[in-house]
Symmetry: D2
């Protein structure tokens, strides 16, 4: 159930409602919107004695209503105007399209600084780079790990861009959270519930990628694992699903974008680099993502894609990325956004 | 192999090359482009004695080159500038985005005329409507058949729009071709090779939909069945593939759009109505399709979707379609197209 | 609705019920079981005036009950003991596992006679061979067509095996039905409703293959197209579905076998040759199919697979087929069947 | 590369080869087979100076050969006779079919002891039960955790069955390994490489489930993560993949069984309970799995499935499980195995 407070409800009204909800053995999550506050009540509904319906008569309460979806805290109903998540001072989810760019993996100081210069110059808002790399084979390059985190942090700081990097092991959360501005959960860990819970106990923003075979409802339930532990700062990322088609590495599912925007208040970004696996498809699919309503993009850019240690065929050159940013501007404006 | 003629090659040069190709037991398809003519040679390559390479020294020939793809006549290599297909005076494939709209099924004179008025008023270029309906169940409404064809033809003529309708049975080709401007092959017949061959023997334009589990290369091979019989007027339609996702009826695969534009010279249109199955997703996915490079759209519009005999949940009202057309204009312009 | 007749109901009782059902604007299909007869009533239910419920009081009627599935004539409810389909004197669906074997395509008199000798010697009950071949590419070998039909017929007759061959075009039904004992509908035509309807108007048994992305319910609806036109002789064939897995040509879905046996009275056979695309998997998956409850197998056998004009990698040699038949015997007996 | 030792090679010969391999900067894994020993050399091949080929002339070496697959330690080539993994004194991978049975989740002492009695009485060899449950929703029952582990251990000990339970978090490995005989990695963690690596550093046997969209090659690469860290005790479990089919919970992919048996020496078990999600399909698919060559089965059995806290529809009653075991015996014998 969610309890919608009146627009003029006082902090004392809200605290009172929370106390009453907890007395009935539910957990209360207070979600503060621009217009009004919502108290989401999580827990099993156990018949009359625990009914929340009578709270409609309590001071400051406008309405008590059931959440129809299986996901509760992620549901659009609890924050109809949508969430804006702040990452190192950069907003994701507002009118501006947020572009996160950088190499697939941090490979060396030279490479990551080259990438940082390039993406900053082209107008990116955040920088990405992998230090811990989930690779299908244990014999492939696994990332520079701790050293990579430091190189990425310095490269971002040098050009003034907050940084995003992947976390694969709950054990590394403290280190990674200290040296980066946003933690990414990759597709292979999309239903690693132990990791999701651990990330729910920090406050750093989380970039949660959809799994290769995760249905949209399951994707929102994965987000719910983070939200229900107390971290409200979740950004969703569509990155392609696995289908029978072999011409592309994955099938970027842009249908997910308008559907997620209908179902959840969380911001939605799109990764056309992994989603297609082919650099020549990155720009058209990036434009399509924005036209479909995405709040941002995740683009792989490498100073020299042919020399990349991973995912070379899908990384853009600095010149191609600059062209993408130029092409993006009129499309964003055509759908009432800006960049 | 394809033989690229010089830009100033004469009709006599071309006829001479065709004669030589056929003497070597290949079938020759002459593909007349804006800049130059290409002679595509189809048949098994059978060693030295049948080699086409020596034709490079023949008058008017610029180059003899292998076609690398398994599809040959559909390959972009044979017509790098892209094809423009004319349907009742309307071009598909040029700078203008072509919008084909109308009800899923022709249900009555009143309904089809209402739809015709609505889509014409909103700026559609072609009208669609199904008279023969492929339905999963034999007990569902199967379409008005012959009578539906006539109603559609009249409704289109009344408002000055050429009409597109589905063909399910080679037996009906003559009738349907006489009363419509373009014949659609549905997803379930995407690899009905007997039907494709029969459609290759007429000259009416064909709207070929991708099958639910057809890979992009197989899709182009299906087009090749029509092309190789002699009908060059094929427009491809992405309409969603079947995946594990159940939130949408199909997974509209927009990745196919830029990939097809790379691989083939045939125009590519997108059907977000079947592709998503949800009316609220039709407009964002239509905008995304155009941003991704589609040459046109196929949109289901019904005067009263709630009363529709088939596919109600995915058909737009006239008002929503009008809004879609308005939203489309700036996006088309943002990617250098118009509507 | 289905009307279950009493076990001692007379032909006159049944005729009377049929007349009453048709007077209410339904089509009546009489299904004669071993124990009792069922009258299936097909048509839209249109309220009180057309209610069939009152027939419970008519002579010879035991019960009037709704069919819960969307498929009606194919439903197990109308013939709980299961159907046995006769093909040229060979039964499919009884206690014996029926093995249909032969080459992917008829290639020459020598090849088809060699295959006939081999499969007969190893104990096959029916012979298969394709004369019309649905090939992804129009430039691949398309089969020997009419000549192939004749070669197959003669080869079967020589060794005393009824023959099964694929039909792709309604136009060829008369010819193919005259020269073969069972007509196969391939996966690509699994929802070619025009072809299915045409096959419903003959009485020759039909071997209906599941489409590459056909759900089990849709598969039964495709069978329903044939049944509802009046041809009750349908055998279903699981032949692999399309998934993300690329190690096998298709994913043979054996789950479909026990599920189909629960849902329908029609016999179910399995094609592990197309289902896996790898000869080394054919025998284990054939054994698994029988263990799962299949009524028969469709096995590709070629006198010399390396020289095959199509699907070489999945065809068994005569020696491997003989070994398969030997391995099959104890597995069939282990599940209470014989071979 | 793998170095196949002569059958009479001495321990000193082997130690010498290992030393030479490591001197060339490879990691050496000694794999001791019944007939002979193989030294698998893992690491990048870096040209002439690091070539292993010259080791063919070293004492005790029979042959130096490349491993053709991307997976190395899991490859059948390194142990052609197959591996047998011991779990609490019970062998998996030998001539006997190993049956692992028990409830989806440990729910109470009463329930787990009832299940233990039932599966022991019916002839199961190992007991399973989940204490840490990966659930799609954070609001669903998450398992009894530590307490569940203890209840399972006691229930198994009481009836003399080693126990298998799922591990979701590397943090719990020590606790779970102490109180159970085999640790299961669930489908959602199939590519949780941090967890796989951690499990590679213990010696307890691991039951590795295939992910919902994991290709067979990727599945073996996941096993390789465990093997390459030093834990050779890995059993693979096919448990259904995600496809477009909605009639079953997953599509149990039995094709994987003979393919895995060809490609790897690791034992392969099958879970028809999760693989189909329908109790009525569990027995036929269990029989099919054994006919296809599986080394064992994982069957969910609950004293009272209707009262189960998770996965009720797919759990067998004790009576059904007893019937399954009886049906299994003749099928196992038909393929040269026993139970």
């Amino acid at each position: 159930m969610i309890i919608v407070m009146k627009s003029h409800a006082s902090p004392a009204d809200i605290a009172n409602v929370v106390r009453m909800v907890e007395a009935l053995d539910y957990r209360a999550h207070v979600i503060t919107g621009v217009e009004r506050t919502v108290v989401a009540c999580v827990g099993e509904e156990r018949g009359e004695a625990h009914s929340l319906t009578h709270l409609e008569s309590v001071a400051g309460v406008e309405r008590v209503m059931p959440v129809l979806r299986t996901f509760k805290l992620a549901s659009r109903e609890v924050r109809p105007e949508g969430s804006i998540i702040e990452v190192g001072g950069v907003a994701i989810g507002g009118p501006r399209i947020t572009v996160i760019a950088g190499p697939c993996a941090v490979e060396s100081r030279l490479q990551v600084e080259g990438a940082a210069d390039a993406v900053k110059a082209a107008g990116a808002h955040l920088m990405r780079g992998g230090a811990y790399k989930p690779r299908t084979s244990p014999y492939s390059f696994q990332g520079m790990e701790g050293e990579g985190i430091t190189l990425l942090e310095h490269a971002g700081r040098r050009v003034g861009l907050p940084v995003v990097t992947e976390i694969m092991d709950a054990h590394d959360i403290e280190l990674v959270a200290e040296h980066s501005d946003m933690l990414q959960v990759g597709a292979r860990n999309a239903q690693n519930f132990a990791l999701l819970r651990a990330l729910g106990r920090i406050r750093k923003p989380i970039l949660l990628k959809r799994g290769m075979s995760t249905r949209i409802e399951e994707f929102l339930m994965a987000a719910e694992y983070i939200l229900s532990e107390g971290n409200p700062n979740v950004v969703l990322c569509e990155r392609g699903i696995r289908t029978f088609e072999t011409a592309t590495r994955n099938t970027l599912d842009l249908n997910a974008v308008p559907l997620l925007k209908e179902w959840t208040h969380l911001p939605v970004v799109v990764d056309p680099s992994h989603g297609t696996g082919l650099w020549s498809l990155v720009t058209p699919m990036a434009l399509a993502a924005v036209a479909a309503g995405a709040d941002g993009l995740l683009i792989e850019v490498h100073p020299d894609p042919r020399a990349a240690l991973s995912d070379g065929p899908q990384q853009l050159t600095p010149a191609s990325f600059k062209a993408l940013m130029a092409a993006l501007k009129p499309v964003a404006e055509a759908v009432g956004r800006r960049i």
